[in-house]
């Protein structure tokens, strides 16, 4: 006869068996295997990996596109404060109890829900040589010659960044909205009784209580910016100086079929992301202590 404790363990294991097996195969194993593969050359036909030491890593750092990608992903971080600022404003705006507010919430979320493919196709046409943007700017008289938004080195990355900004706002708006609705309304009522005005309510109650949500959103938004892929893949294919780390990893693996080189790049990239996250937390943690 099994003891009560042993029975519970058996039950727990039977609940966890399938999920943990799948996690082991598709989540834990790739972490280890990815690192091993980064020191190897993988042959697609024989399905064999040959150990080649640090050769892949040396090759990465000799490639000029690696540095371009590195520059671009950090440039891409510029979108984060813009997205967050507009998202917070929008969330506060749609958190009001006004007729038709649900309709507006839905509209603002449309770019998020439609998915990257349709959004990118649409913006590619807007950015076209004879697209809406050029035709608008020329009618208004701001420019004389059409601008090649997605193929001119000077503009391509920023054009992609704008699309990220445009389709990111709604996503964070919903998270901020949830954060705003988690703030107990009693706090506002009490403050109003004490004679606080709207601005005081916002700066003394809303902003401080929204801080954890903001921290969360800034973190995931910066990580998303560093990992940007879809906009680049769908609009410029990494051309005109718009390569990013994720695009490089994709390109090595599934265009050139150099799996070793690709995993080595992703190991380096993972390192960059970990360092970034640690610095990020130090910075925010420090600011938190001061308060």
């Amino acid at each position: 006869m099994l003891s009560r404790k042993q029975q519970t363990v058996i039950i727990a294991v039977s609940f966890l068996a399938i999920p943990l097996t799948l996690l082991a195969i598709f989540t834990y194993y790739p972490i280890i295997r990815g690192v091993v593969l980064s020191f190897s050359e993988y042959n697609m036909f024989t399905k064999k990996a040959t150990w080649i030491g640090f050769k892949n890593y040396v090759e990465i750092f000799q490639n000029k596109y690696f540095y371009e990608a590195l520059r671009n992903i950090f440039k891409y971080l510029i979108v984060v404060p813009f997205i967050q600022f507009v998202a917070i404003l929008t969330a506060v705006l749609v958190n009001q109890d006004l007729p038709g507010i649900k309709f507006f919430r839905t509209l603002f979320y449309v770019p998020v829900i439609t998915g990257a493919v349709i959004v990118s196709m649409t913006w590619r046409w807007i950015y076209n040589v004879d697209g809406l943007l050029n035709s608008f700017l020329m009618t208004v008289g701001l420019i004389k010659e059409p601008i090649l938004w997605l193929t001119d080195q000077r503009f391509a990355l920023y054009s992609a960044m704008f699309v990220t900004f445009w389709r990111g706002i709604g996503y964070y708006m919903v998270i901020y909205l949830a954060g705003l609705q988690n703030i107990p309304s009693e706090l506002y009522e009490a403050a109003k009784l004490d004679g606080a005005n709207d601005r005081q309510l916002f700066t003394k109650i809303t902003l401080p209580l929204l801080r954890p949500t903001m921290l969360f959103c800034f973190t995931i938004s910066s990580l998303a910016a560093l990992k940007v892929f879809e906009e680049i893949f769908l609009m410029t294919q990494g051309g005109s100086g718009t390569t990013t780390m994720m695009y490089l990893i994709y390109d090595y693996a599934f265009v050139r079929f150099k799996f070793g080189l690709s995993t080595a790049t992703s190991v380096v990239f993972a390192g960059i992301l970990i360092i970034f996250t640690i610095i990020n937390f130090r910075f925010f943690g420090h600011r938190g202590e001061k308060r």
């Binding site: 943990l20 993988y42 509209l107 439609t114």
Partner: protein, 275 residues
């Protein structure tokens, strides 16, 4: 006092409308383009949103030239499989982590959360090789299996299980239910809002997923709608009208879905943020 309030409302609506235009004008433009005939200038400024000669030709062309229906069926198969896997496996895994007392519980939970801290970019390639090895390449299962267990899902379900009062479960145990029956008949139904939120997040993620299905599917007749569209865009590029119609057709289901489920989005995030 009243005047100040009126100004505030007018100001709010003004900003709301400006934002609404900002977020939707590209789609409105696509919608109007999809009804335009061949002779009309698409890119004129100011844009003409009402077609001069409205036509359904573009929509007919889409269904003639693109296997839209096939893409939709594929998307529905992949999305359904993915949602079922994620909901059931996350619910199962979270149960002993929240409702049972056993040694090693906290350790296992931490172990499950660990990958959230490690950037998983390399997994793409290793999982691709794994899929090739186990012979699932070019199958629907290949699309959903690597993401069948959602760590976020386990986390979300566990948080909600924790709030279920244990008296109900104990009563069921006294009535002779085994642990699985307790889970299935008592605990699982009690956290329905969380399950709904998880299902909806999974639904949108699978519906809009692009890169992974693109990598593991080879046969175009197995493509989901996103992959199908992205592949067609190059062939279609010169023909904005037909492509617009294809995009509108592709947008309708997900927009309808969102319209009816939007409250769960906010509720889902509310539940996740508290922690």
């Amino acid at each position: 006092m009243i005047k100040k309030k009126t100004i505030k409302i007018i100001l709010s609506y003004t900003i709301l409308i400006i934002l609404a235009i900002f977020f939707t004008f590209p789609f409105i433009w696509v919608l109007s383009t999809s009804f335009k005939g061949p002779g009309e200038n698409l890119f004129s400024w100011p844009p003409k949103f009402i077609p001069q000669h409205p036509t359904l030709e573009n929509y007919i062309a889409v269904f003639k030239r693109v296997p839209m229906l096939r893409y939709f069926i594929n998307t529905i198969i992949i999305t359904t499989l993915g949602v079922i896997f994620q909901v059931i496996l996350s619910s199962l895994a979270a149960y002993p982590l929240a409702r049972l007392e056993w040694k090693g519980k906290d350790l296992i939970f931490k172990f499950i959360l660990l990958p959230l801290l490690i950037p998983m970019e390399g997994a793409l390639i290793v999982n691709f090789i794994t899929i090739l090895r186990i012979g699932l390449y070019d199958s629907y299962l290949a699309v959903v299996l690597p993401s069948a267990v959602s760590i976020f899902g386990i986390f979300l379900m566990r948080q909600h299980y924790l709030s279920v009062p244990s008296e109900l479960e104990d009563a069921a145990r006294i009535d002779g239910c085994n642990e699985f029956q307790v889970f299935w008949k008592i605990t699982f139904p009690l956290v329905r809002p969380a399950t709904a939120a998880l299902a909806i997040f999974a639904f949108t993620a699978y519906w809009n997923s692009l890169l992974w299905p693109l990598i593991v599917l080879r046969t175009p007749s197995k493509y989901p709608i996103q992959v199908g569209l992205s592949q067609l865009s190059s062939t279609f590029e010169p023909n904005f009208r037909t492509a617009s119609a294809a995009m509108i057709v592709a947008m309708i289901p997900i927009l309808t879905f969102f319209y009816f489920t939007q409250r769960y989005f906010i509720e889902g995030y509310k539940g996740a943020i508290i922690e």
